[in-house]
Symmetry: D2
Subunit: 373 residues, 4 copies
């Protein structure tokens, strides 16, 4: 037998968790200031028409520079389809989507190459991996979500064929909250204002608030609500992969997300069972429930009622102010704000929430299909 | 070639999602009124002392009949270790834990064998699988969590060796809320009262409330808070398997859970970045942050500060009242309450929350180890 | 931040790889001389009739003591179904099967508690885990396959509904080889003789050979061939999970297996492409190929022709002779043969090969179903 | 409840199985005549120096046109690293490697756009997916292995740090077989001749044979042997993920592979246990076995002795002759040979076998690390 001497000095740590989904499964890659970001979709069925324009349309909804209240970085974000599509139709093989990085200003980040920005991932990445790509946060940057939106666009194309519709919108910015319900009227307003709030008047207030906060070099948090209609009964796997558990994980995996609740959520904990229970009834010949405190999911499985949930986003950590911090040698230092950043993340996070919801639904649609003998 | 004619009449649907974790991985099985419930732990390292008494101690904390405010079913819930342990030490092979069902009163459920209880999983299971074990909810029963607590006990034994400590407690029952912080004093109170609230006075109020609501044949929801101390820096995988995303999924997979937030949570969305950011400092020679709005996790990776999160539980769906519903033929019917059930789930859910947290931490501890070359 | 001091003395190593399959997925547990062996099947569809007698019938085919040429240990091996079945029908939840160990003679193994038997897993387990359950090989014992056969029986019940038929048999014992092809006549002979060879005359020769070798305290290897008929076109996933790659892994995971080949196998490497290619034709209205060097699989996907493959098994490592070896202190020692062991593994391995083939086919049947939108 | 009408006409089937490995995990994408092929490596530890030249060197060993006995297609096959590497060092995030397709002559394939080539994957893909990219076999082309070799190069860089060395070579072409053992001398010959046979004289004979067969428009099969030295004791997971089972699956997943055997293989089935057992001894202070019929693996776990295995490759299916076949309408037709193809696959398959072996070893190296508490 040969004796092996392992004599490695440095701490080498690896990273995983770059895949999501079990049957309709994506793996993303890329750093904020690397050559490109991208995603492989493994598990898209053959025969789906792949509309490249729709993917670019979704990317445009997420894109920086789309309005005065988001970061003014200019990233064209056009998708390239490298594989899995032949004559505009999916062929069952992995679909690889690439988005090149065009507007990186890496120099913007030299001032933090050895400092840890407060409430960013700089410190934890450095400790976990022993080194990091400090430029724009590297892999921890929200730029990674461009790959999710591209993959989510294909999931949406798939769900369209089944009839499932996903709509997310901003229901809160700072202290400004919209308590209304989506209707055929106000749903049209969402994409008409830069905040993506269904109430056009409140949207103006929110926009003003964001601009004021931006002027102060500060940031603010917010909440996004998402509604999913026409979901077939039966999606979701009991026990660990309950539909809402997978939706929750999907949302919590988005940068800056701090909380997730569905149906009656945290407020529902104050209710009595007799109020909270959704009693069954027959409505227009179909099974329905009068109330929908269950948020469309019972026992982890969709019950055919609209699915709805809320996602909390913290204020963006990058502020245009001096902050106390430490450097790589754990010495005290000052980090000052620089660069082009979002004062509030929720307007651009709306398509990301939709994309992640679409990926969960597409996956569970197929999981539920692995089924009939 | 042989032609295959598939001529299957019934809708057969399968179910998965009974496993949790990627390296320290559990798979649970069993129905509420079947022969037994159990769990296989695959990925427990060899050499860990397995203290059977500790597993039974944890099961006792979850057990029905432990106080006047929980269900009075009598389930002894003693664990049997079938494999993976030799001379009280783990040997690296799968550890199989079995808990027999002893006190099933299946007859209690004959009245709902063809009816769907509101806000239960009866309807969704029936639609998904085409049939169901209606006795006590079958697999959808919270009895399934007995397997999680047993596996979680072994995860806790493992984490003890690393120094990680997990403490959950009830911070809200209905409208009664405890806003305090855990201290060396009040932490001892948690297990002294049947509600598991760190404030003994509020615990009495909560107990009284639960008893009143029980008398009314009704139920009430609540919130559990969990704190995890001594977590090494570096646990959690970026992008999809962020530490808080996996904790969120773990909690949302517990029966009756409606929401999850960590650190500043939903309230934090109203803050400005300048308030919310946790500025770094050096405290007693170690990296620390003054505030902990990040809840011990930055960029999805533990930063060494205490991890804390809240879990929302809805009021139990089984109430001792008549409710409108439908039957399997989708005809209107009345479901009346019967059996022995919890008026409020949170006291017994405390050890379940801890167990799921322990499973997530144990798994990410090993994931972070798959690392040095 | 809290400093964590890890101060663990022993080398603790964990073990995984106890699961097989991706949708129809099994996880086995149990040691040779522990309380029980078992398996959880996660992914069996609801609505399948579970015939407990058939499971026991398959276990009987694998059972020790079934004839004079196999080990004379007496293990009744009756299955207990703990979950997932209600009124003899699968309900879509995990099916847990238990087989208790009844006839362990642990004392038989005290002589090897600190010695490594040649060509067994004693040494590698000890090095990998730092400790081992030495009784009967613990988890490395071929007794583990009892769980595979139980799970395979349920896979077979599933495949029966689709029409797929799996037949394995012994085609070689030592130098004795059967070159014939299965026919409607000789297929009936397989289970009539203890060797499980389709040629009754050769079976007698093989039986005589095995008995002679047994008398000498020695063992001998052999080859099993397996044929699968009525496989639908389209099973198997391209690239890494080709149908034959998954069959190969399944077979190679069986104790004592040393090789796998399908279709033309190793001999086919000597052929020219012009001989080897299976030209397409239409036979009785269906697509067929004249020859079947492809073994029913092209590009990793079933083509509707019979699938066939061969599995090589080495001579059993336990012989009734003194052998040189080393002990745990790496000192030279003598290991002498004891206990009740098989002189040749192939007769009892026939149902194991079938079980593993059934598990692969059932899994790929469902994988191919995760497909239509 | 909303009624969903699913009204989809076509058969849509999806495909997976494009990932390999559990911790050091790759996902490949790309079709033979698409824009590019590529691979994402998720699970490469941070801190590994990534030598781009070495990746290109490995690609050159696999490249078409490298000698007179391989296909004369001209594919430059230079790798582009899109992510996961910063300043030439891995940073723990997914490494994405891209190889553009430069020399596709898609027109070469128009003659088979509606015909099925015998013993290719045309028919099975068409049946499975309902459509296919017929150009060069699309995803079923052995061109997919370029991504494996690129990823395998990084696995090799990792294994170099541990000391593990992998050497594959051609030991058989048609009827010409080399029975020798690798030595310090003949190992240097392998890369000196176009066949990659360690015996230079036999290499000339093999080369002549291949050229003759090529002239006849025919093809021939062969066998590759692989030896892995300096493997630490303890790699491999018992039961289903035995080291040789994963090696077997890896090899069987390579295009044209028909069989796998390790150690004594199929020949060993004819031996007696008393001959076959590898008795332990101490050699130069280390544990060793006199013989190595176990092929370096006992109980599925590496024992420190050299690992060796053989891989059988069938004759290439594309021949320059007319063959009977059918078309998409299942009508009889003639397929004639065209294009630039390999007369024998084994010379170019040597680096592919090594790459797959490296991926298996790297993965099991980390799996074995998920271990110490």
């Amino acid at each position: 037998m040969v004796i092996i001497v392992l004599n490695l000095i440095d701490i080498f740590v690896e990273m995983k968790g770059n895949s999501f989904g079990s049957i309709f499964r994506i793996t993303t890659f890329g750093e904020s200031h690397g050559k490109a970001l991208g995603v492989i979709i493994d598990g898209c069925p053959a025969g789906l028409e792949i509309d490249e324009n729709f993917i670019n349309h979704e990317l445009a909804r997420r894109r920086p520079g789309q309005s005065a209240i988001v970061t003014q970085r200019k990233e064209p974000d056009q998708v390239q389809i490298l594989s899995g599509v032949f004559n505009n139709v999916s062929i069952g093989t992995p679909i690889s989507l690439l988005i090149e990085n065009k507007n990186q200003k890496s120099k913007d980040y030299s001032h933090i190459s050895e400092k840890f920005r407060p409430s960013h991932a700089d410190y934890t990445y450095q400790e976990k991996y022993g080194l990091r790509d400090y430029r724009g946060g590297g892999r921890s940057s929200a730029r990674e979500t461009v790959a999710r939106v591209a993959a989510g666009a294909i999931a949406k194309l798939l769900l369209k064929q089944i009839g499932i519709e996903i709509t997310a919108y901003v229901c809160q910015v700072g202290h400004l909250t919209w308590e209304g319900e989506l209707s055929l009227d106000n749903i049209k307003e969402i994409e008409k204002n830069p905040v993506r709030c269904p109430d056009p008047n409140l949207a103006v207030e929110m926009e003003t608030l964001i601009k004021e906060i931006k002027k102060q070099g500060d940031t603010v948090g917010g909440v996004i609500k998402c509604t999913i209609n026409n979901v077939p009964v039966g999606l979701g796997e009991p026990v660990f992969d309950k539909l809402h558990a997978d939706l929750g994980k999907a949302m919590l995996s988005i940068n800056a997300c701090k909380g997730f609740e569905y149906g009656s959520g945290f407020e529902g904990t104050k209710m009595r069972g007799s109020e909270h229970n959704d009693q069954f009834t027959i409505k227009e010949g179909s099974v329905s429930t009068g109330t929908n405190h269950s948020g469309g999911i019972q026992g982890g499985i969709s019950n055919g009622m609209p699915i709805n949930f809320k996602v909390a986003f913290k204020p963006v950590a990058t502020i245009m102010r001096d902050q106390e911090s430490i450097d790589e040698q754990h010495q005290k230092t000052i980090v000052s704000g620089k660069g082009r950043h979002d004062p509030c993340v929720v307007p651009r996070a709306v398509p990301i929430v939709e994309a992640m919801a679409a990926l969960v639904l597409a996956d569970h649609y197929f999981r539920n299909k692995t089924s009939k003998i």
